[in-house]
Symmetry: C2
Subunit: 134 residues, 2 copies
DNA sequence: AGGATAGCTGACGTTTACGTAATGCATACG
DNA sequence: CGTATGCATTACGTAAACGTCAGCTATCCT
């Protein structure tokens, strides 16, 4: 057993800094599949792995629906071949868009740095002329 | 005059692949400032530059409000010093978050590639056992 | 003059991703 | 035994970012 301990909803919330509402919402949208003990949710190692990917995907600006499709790639042990192939294609597309996004991000970073150098010069010259006026 | 030609709302829409509603919405939110000829909007070179940055920001997952603040950095000729300094700070924060995002994106790309190699192996072995069964 | 075309202003509708009560069950605690 | 605590389910509310539709103008064309 590789750390097959389950967590309550509160423990999850503290561990990942989300609200209970968020976790229940993700379950409703079939992004997480906590098991039930009575009526209580118990989150497994698998749920934790998925939640980590969900939160990361969100930081990249992907929608929950986008993320849901990608998640299958990380948990496809029992899939059919055709389903797996489709998932693989989706993953390829997503990978490409992530690479594109990274490249554009690099460009944007360089441009912003450039602008900020300009801003520094402006700040410097403004504080100079202010000193001269005193 | 450095290409100081204005564009109608339709021309903008085709050039940037957005709807008129979007452009009017951005104006209402003070992201764009088209001049008026009668009651018609005329978009300037400045608006085009800003729109390009807006759309890019959106692809990075920034909110319009985030973007609005950043935009000031690119068009701060007539600002006061204090205002400029504040804008500069905002830009620094944003730059850092973009760098963080890029780094995390690189990690995610590597992980996804790894998963896909695994998926390829699965696909291969599944098609093998299928051939063997025939 | 009478459309067709392009743009305008409200104003209400929609989707996404949750927030926020209101109400109910179950268990632990003094 | 009562109550406080933790989690549950409905269900309605909300902010962001537009979509959509109705009704009004100005202009150009024949």
């Amino acid at each position: 057993m590789t750390d097959e301990k389950t967590m309550t909803i509160r423990e999850m919330c503290e561990a990942f800094d989300v609200t209970p509402r968020t976790l229940r919402f993700y379950e409703a949208k079939e992004l997480l599949f906590p098991i039930r003990e009575g009526q209580k949710r118990l989150f497994t190692r698998r749920d934790r792995a998925r939640l980590k990917l969900i939160l990361r995907g969100k930081r990249f600006g992907f929608s929950l629906e986008d993320i849901r499709q990608l998640l299958d790639l990380y948990h496809m042990g029992d899939q059919q071949q055709t389903q797996l192939a489709k998932t693989y294609e989706i993953a390829q597309d997503r990978l490409q868009s992530m690479i594109d996004q990274r490249d554009e991000l690099n460009e944007a970073i360089d441009e912003l740095k450039e602008q900020m150098r300009w801003g520094e010069k402006m700040l410097a010259s403004m504080s100079n002329s202010k000193k001269a006026a005193e």
